[in-house]
């Protein structure tokens, strides 16, 4: 249902997001074709996390992460599922807890340290909050470790330059799509290069993330 007429010639740049390299923030324009292509990758992630048709994934993120999150949102539709959203902030942790209780998502992706701190504020135990969820994916290795300490076996989602990499719950290594991206390492730092066309190219782009590539398509942090 389109509510309003749209300008017939949409802008070449779908949106200006960002990639985070250590403390540095790099503006990152992407095209709609970039988003569409990454949606295919994200759909594979969601399926393999166990999201099925008519189910729901709760995505916990920030608007500034839109270039990484929009493919996940659209991928939910590709899978035939719905998505819901909460901010990955300490304050908005109440929303994550509330939506898990009300909507009973199959998959929750993006729990970060701030959300876990928010659970502490609310005196909520992550194991109790996420008990009904089939797959929980943390944002970053630190949050994954905190969830593990709380008894939640969670996967890990990291944004590596402009690409998404996901480790499934119980797995040590992150996955990425090696047909679209090449990941190398130099002095222990991961570098990314786009193999598929992208509006903003990455040519051995320094990610600021330490890790290694045991085999194409896999990353060990």
């Amino acid at each position: 249902m389109t509510f309003a007429a749209a300008y017939e010639d949409p802008p070449r740049v779908w949106g200006v997001g960002r990639v985070v390299v250590g403390d540095e923030i790099v503006p990152w324009p992407v095209s709609k074709a970039d988003i569409d292509d990454e949606t295919e990758v994200a759909a594979t992630f969601l399926r393999e996390l166990g999201l099925g048709a008519d189910e729901l994934v709760l995505i916990v993120s920030y608007l500034s992460q839109a270039i990484h999150v929009a493919p996940l949102e659209r991928a939910a539709g590709v899978v035939g599922a719905l998505y819901s959203s909460a901010d990955a902030s300490r304050f908005d942790a109440f929303r994550t807890a509330s939506l898990v209780r009300q909507l009973k998502p199959t998959v929750v992706i993006g729990i970060d340290d701030a959300v876990l701190a928010g659970f502490d504020d609310l005196d909520r135990d992550p194991a109790e909050v996420f008990a009904p969820v089939r797959a929980v994916v943390a944002s970053g290795a630190g949050a994954q470790a905190r969830l593990a300490a709380a008894g939640v076996v969670a996967g890990t989602w990291i944004r590596l330059g402009a690409l998404n990499a996901v480790a499934y719950p119980g797995e040590d290594q992150l996955r990425y799509d090696a047909t679209r991206w090449q990941v190398d390492e130099a002095d222990g730092e991961l570098l990314v290069t786009n193999l598929a066309d992208r509006l903003t190219p990455s040519d051995r782009f320094r990610t600021g993330v330490q890790g290694r590539v045991p085999t194409p398509g896999r990353i060990a942090l």
Binding site: M1, A4, A6, L63, S64, F94
Partner: protein, 440 residues
């Protein structure tokens, strides 16, 4: 559609539609489509109408609508939700498993949750919303950058809408932690539109700019218009923002069926009557109040077939006018006065947060951060909890007296003031607002 950047309206055929056409389209959408659709599919609507002994066949005119259609409100939705273990409160009219809905019914967003559990809001949108009209009115045009400063839980319709006018969204978090990027992206990408700004964000922008030595007039010089939303803005905050060279366009909620936003005349927020039917009724009864008279906003969607609200009593106190605006648009306008549930009667005198806003805000140390303590509707003493950033000359006792004096001068009642560090209040709300009324 092809758009001449010089054209005055985004959708002139709608925005300047005659009153007769607005009414005729409303009747067709509401009586011929929405009512039978909602009654058949919405558990809450059917339950409410059955209890009132009304069926769609009884409602064949707007007179019937006004006389017979029962009201619903937030309590009714919550009650249905709890009784039926239905997160959508009996409003959902689509079956997520229906294969014809794939790709249309895509997501579930939620209300801000400022006063309680966030309410899930099913979303079946695709593409831009009617806010294209407002974004065009701000002055944003095809090829421009447009600052999208919001949260995730409102969904993707805003960035679709920005692209809907041919502009490119620049994503920034509506968070204190992202202010530096907001300033940087404003200077680097020179956006012309900005959605949204809020009171807490104004405070944080000012502090960040001072800390970093940034000239805000320069940083914001590309903007033609900024939508301010979340809660009312006080005169002092408005003056501060206008001093940065920004033109503010106030946006208000339209009883959970949409939003209404000011035009360049800044004389009320335009409610798009091709999308919603708005009544203004006696807050304590069911009779309509006159044009421009204070009433309670009662909203009925004309376009939402996913979770339609029919005669939803919003609790919002408003003045509604359907006089044609000086901007040339024919759709009505709403001035928001406050919330009925926020009103405090202090020894017979009505006080709303908006009545004391300017007075509290006039004291620099407060940044306008306050809550009214409302243990019951009628009280003997007006009690305010006020946040402070600094104690100011004379310390807290002197600050308290200055606030008491300002409020007394404004509303004629001397309040009791409970001073707290401002972070205590900021922690109580999402980044764009705090609850302005609290029980204790």
């Amino acid at each position: 559609m092809s758009l001449d950047p010089a054209r005055r309206y985004f959708s002139p055929e709608i925005e300047q539609m005659s009153r007769a056409d607005i009414d005729s389209q409303r009747d067709e959408k509401l009586l011929g489509d929405l009512i039978p659709w909602a009654y058949k599919r919405s558990g809450l609507i059917r339950e409410t109408w059955d209890a009132a002994g009304v069926s769609p066949a009884d409602v064949t005119s707007m007179n019937d609508f006004h006389e017979k259609v029962p009201f619903i409100d937030k309590d009714a939705i919550r009650s249905y939700r709890d009784r039926h273990d239905d997160p959508y409160g009996g409003l959902l009219c689509l079956d997520p498993a229906d294969p014809t809905m794939k790709g249309i019914f895509s997501a579930i967003f939620s209300t801000s949750g400022t006063t309680g559990d966030p309410t899930p809001a099913p979303f079946a949108g695709r593409g831009p919303s009617m806010l294209v009209r407002e974004f065009w009115e701000l002055g944003a045009r095809p090829g421009d950058h447009f600052l999208h400063c919001l949260f995730t839980f409102r969904g993707p319709s805003i960035h679709d809408t920005i692209r809907g006018i041919g502009a490119t969204p620049v994503f920034v978090d509506h968070q204190p932690s992202d202010i530096e990027q907001l300033l940087r992206f404003s200077r680097d990408f020179r956006p012309t539109g900005w959605y949204t700004l809020s009171g807490p964000l104004i405070m944080m922008i000012e502090e960040t700019a001072t800390r970093l030595g940034i000239d805000l007039q320069d940083a914001f010089s590309s903007y033609r218009g900024v939508v301010f939303a979340g809660e009312p803005i006080g005169p002092r905050a408005r003056a501060r923002v206008e001093g940065w060279g920004l033109e503010l366009f106030i946006q208000t909620s339209l009883g959970d069926v949409g939003a209404a936003t000011e035009c360049r005349e800044h004389d009320g927020c335009h409610m798009w009557e091709d999308t919603a039917y708005i009544e203004s009724l006696d807050p304590e009864g069911t009779t309509p109040v006159g044009d421009g008279i204070r009433g309670e906003l009662v909203s009925t969607t004309l376009i939402d077939k996913v979770a339609p609200l029919l005669r939803y009593r919003s609790d919002d106190l408003v003045r509604v006018t359907r006089e044609v605006c000086a901007c040339g648009r024919t759709h009505g306008r709403v001035h928001t006065l406050g919330r009925k549930g926020d009103e405090i009667i202090v020894v017979g005198v009505s006080v709303l947060p908006g009545d004391v806003w300017g007075a509290v805000e006039s004291i620099d140390e407060t940044n306008g951060l306050f809550q009214m303590i409302r243990p019951s509707r009628e009280v003997d003493t007006l009690r305010l909890r006020v946040g402070y950033a600094t104690e100011g000359p004379g310390g807290l006792p002197a600050l308290r007296v200055r606030i008491e004096d300002a409020v007394e001068e404004s509303v004629g009642i001397r309040p009791e003031i409970d001073l707290v560090e401002r972070e205590v209040l900021l922690r109580q709300g999402p980044p764009h607002k705090i609850p302005r009324v609290t029980r204790a």
